[in-house]
Symmetry: C2
Subunit: 343 residues, 2 copies
DNA sequence: CTGAAAGCGCTTACAG
DNA sequence: CTGAAAGCGCTTACAG
C-alpha cells in the first residue's frame, strides 16, 4: 500500500506538502509545478488515503449514520435519495440502520454511541422505532438531526408539513362532494412497539389534526368511529375494510395516512365487492410509484420527502461543523394532490 | 473522552491488560479479579473504543460495503435482513450503496477502493448496475462476494436458483392447463444502462432458460414473440399489456420475472378489461408482501433471498479471514409456489 | 508472566 | 516559506 511518505519521497518533497495537496490546505504553500508533480505521482502510484489514520488524526470519520424505521418502506426511497445526494456533496458516506436493529450491544449502536466513528446521526423516528435502542442514540456524542417534528426534544429537527397533508387530502374529498369521510391511520396511541419519544406528537396525529380541521372548516362534525387505527402494512388496509363496512352510515371516502396501507385498502374493498371510487373513494398520504400502476390507480398527496432527506443531511453537516439552526417545517413545496382513479 | 490509558491508570494496571480484556485476548493473562475490576471501570467511566485508532492498528475497519442496484426494491428487503443479521453476528457494520451512485469520485467508491476502510464488499449485480463504478469495485483491495452467478469472474459468488424459479413458475401454469405461456422480463440484452460483467449471464436469462426448459419438457415449442423484454418497473408491466393484446394467439398466461412489474401487469390487464386470471393468468418470480394484498392477489414464486444475504455475508466474513470457499447455487430451500388469485 | 515501548498512517503545530 | 517531529488511541511484539 502506497502512503504519503512514499509519494513525498518519490517527488522529493516532505510529507507535509503531499498532505497539503491532498487536502487542498492553504497552510502549506507550494509552487504550481510541485502541486502538479505530486498529483501526477499520486495518480501513477495509485495512492488512496488511509481513512483510519486520517480519522484518528482529525477525529472526523466522514460517516453519517442514518436510522429509519424500515429501509424497505417505499415512502422513504426519495428521502434516502436526498440523504445520499447531500451526503455525497458534503463529503460523507452513509451507514444505514433500521431502528429495530439498534438493540443493546449492536455494532451499529456501538458506533453511533462511540467517539469518532460517526460524525453525526440522522434519525427518522416513527412507530415502532422509539425503542430503547433509539433512546440510546441520544446518548451519543455526535450531533443528531431528527427528521420529524419533536418540539420538546433538545435536538434540532426538520419535518414535512403533516397537518397540511391531512387537510389537503380531506379537502380533495370534500370538493368531490363527500361528507362522510373516514381516516385510516397507523398508531395514534402508545403501544407495545411504539413508545413515543418525549415531546413527540406522532405525525399520524398531526395529519389527523389536518383532517379534523378540514372537516370542521366545512361545518362537518368529526366522528370518532370514522377514525380507524391500524399499523403500516398493506394487510392492515385489507383488514380495515371489514371494520368500515360494519359501520352504521359507513364513510363514502377515506383518507389513508400511508401509501402501502392504501393498496391493501383498495384491494380489500374490491375483494369485498365495493366499487372504487363509486362506493368508496380513497386518497393516500405519500405517493409511491406503485400507486399509479395498480388498477384502479390510487390518488395521493405527494410530500417533499426528497427535500426532507436532502435538507436534513445538509443541516446535519452544518451541525457537525458547529453551526446551529432553527428547526422548522418544510412549507415549500407544499403537499401536492395527484388525482388518479380512486377519487 | 475516556481512553484505554485512563482505564488502566484508574485500575492500576497497564494498558496492555485493559486491551486484553477488551479483546478477550488470551495473550495477556490476568486474574479473574483484575478482569472484573477492569470491566467495572469501563462501565463506570463509560469507555467506548475509538475505532479509528483500532482500525489503524489492526488494519480492520469492521465495515462491510453492500452494493445493490436499488435499495428500495422490495425484493431485496429480505436479502438486506439476512445481510444485517449475519453482519451483526460476525461483528460487522454495514455501509449501503446503490450501484448507480458509485460514479467516479464518489466517496463511497473511494472507501471501497481505498485501503482499510472497508474489509469486504458484497455486490448484488443486476441490470443497470454494471457501470464503470461497479467495475471499479473489482479494483478494490478487499475481498468481494458476488450475490449472483458469475462463473467466469475471479471472485467467489453465491446465487439463488434462477433456472429452477423459471421452471417452477412455468410448470405451475402448465399444470393449470395453459399452453400459450408468455414470459415478461427485464433486460435480456446489453443496453445503455446495462453492460453485463464478463461471464455474467443475467439472472433474467437463467430464468428464461428454466421457462423454456419447462415448455420443451411439456412438448411445447417456445415462441420468441411470447418473450417480452421490459425494465423492472411497475410501469413496464402496465405498458406490456398493449404488446400482449396485440399478439396473434396471445398468451393466456404470463411468467413475470419481477414482483413489482407483475403489479403493473395485473393493473394494466384489468384496466384493459381483461379478467385475471380467466383471460390472463399471472405468476411473478419473487414474492413481496404487497402481492398478497392487492386484488386479485398475485401468485408468486418465493426465492430464498434472506438466505442469499445471510450466507453471502457469512462467506464474506470468511473470505476476509483468508478462508476460501466454492461458489454455489442455493438449492435449499427450493423455489416455493405461493398460489394466490391470479393463477 | 507482565509492562514499556513501538508503530499503524496520517495531519498540523512548531522550530528553523 | 518549508521540513522535522509530535501525536491522535489503540494493539502487540518485545524486553525484562
Amino acid at each position: 500500500m502506497v502512503k504519503v511518505k512514499e509519494i513525498a519521497a518519490a517527488v522529493g518533497v516532505s510529507p507535509s506538502v503531499v498532505s497539503a495537496v491532498l487536502n487542498g490546505s492553504r497552510h502549506v504553500r507550494m509552487s504550481e509545478a510541485t502541486r502538479a508533480q505530486v498529483l501526477a505521482k499520486i495518480e501513477e502510484l495509485g495512492y488512496t488515503a488511509n481513512f483510519a489514520a486520517r480519522s484518528l488524526r482529525t477525529s472526523r470519520s466522514g460517516v453519517l449514520a442514518v436510522v429509519a424505521p424500515k429501509l424497505s418502506n417505499p415512502v422513504f426511497a426519495p428521502m434516502f435519495d436526498g440523504i445520499h445526494d447531500a451526503a455525497e456533496e458534503s463529503g460523507y458516506v452513509i451507514m444505514l440502520a433500521e431502528a429495530t436493529r439498534l438493540v443493546d450491544g449492536s455494532r451499529m449502536l456501538e458506533r453511533i454511541l462511540g467517539h469518532g466513528q460517526v460524525d453525526g446521526t440522522i434519525l427518522r423516528p416513527s412507530s415502532g422505532i422509539d425503542s430503547a435502542g433509539v433512546r440510546s442514540v441520544f446518548r451519543g456524542q455526535a450531533p443528531i438531526v431528527v427528521l420529524d417534528e419533536v418540539p420538546d426534544l433538545a435536538q434540532p429537527w426538520l419535518a414535512i408539513d403533516d397537518v397540511a397533508a391531512g387537510r389537503v387530502a380531506t379537502e380533495h374529498l370534500l370538493e368531490r362532494g363527500h361528507t362522510r369521510i373516514g381516516y385510516l391511520g397507523g398508531w395514534f396511541h402508545a403501544h407495545a412497539t411504539f413508545q413515543p419519544l418525549e415531546g413527540f406528537r406522532h405525525n399520524n396525529l398531526r395529519r389527523l389534526d389536518g383532517y379534523q380541521a378540514a372537516l370542521s372548516a366545512a361545518g362537518i362534525e368529526p366522528r370518532t368511529d370514522y377514525v380507524i387505527e391500524t399499523d403500516y402494512t398493506a394487510h392492515a388496509g385489507r383488514e380495515a375494510v371489514k371494520q368500515l363496512t360494519a359501520l352504521r352510515d359507513r364513510p363514502t371516502a377515506i383518507v389513508v395516512n400511508n401509501a402501502t396501507t392504501s393498496i391493501g385498502l383498495v384491494g380489500g374493498a374490491i375483494a369485498a365487492g365495493l366499487r372504487v371510487p363509486d362506493d368508496l373513494a380513497v386518497i393516500a398520504i405519500h405517493d409511491i410509484d406503485m400507486l399509479s400502476e395498480v388498477s384502479p390507480a390510487i390518488s395521493a398527496v405527494r410530500m417533499p420527502m426528497y427535500e426532507l432527506g436532502y435538507t436534513g443531511t445538509k443541516l446535519a453537516a452544518k451541525a457537525i461543523d458547529g453551526e446551529t439552526f432553527e428547526s422548522y417545517v418544510i412549507k415549500d413545496p407544499p403537499p401536492h394532490i395527484l388525482h388518479r382513479e380512486t377519487t
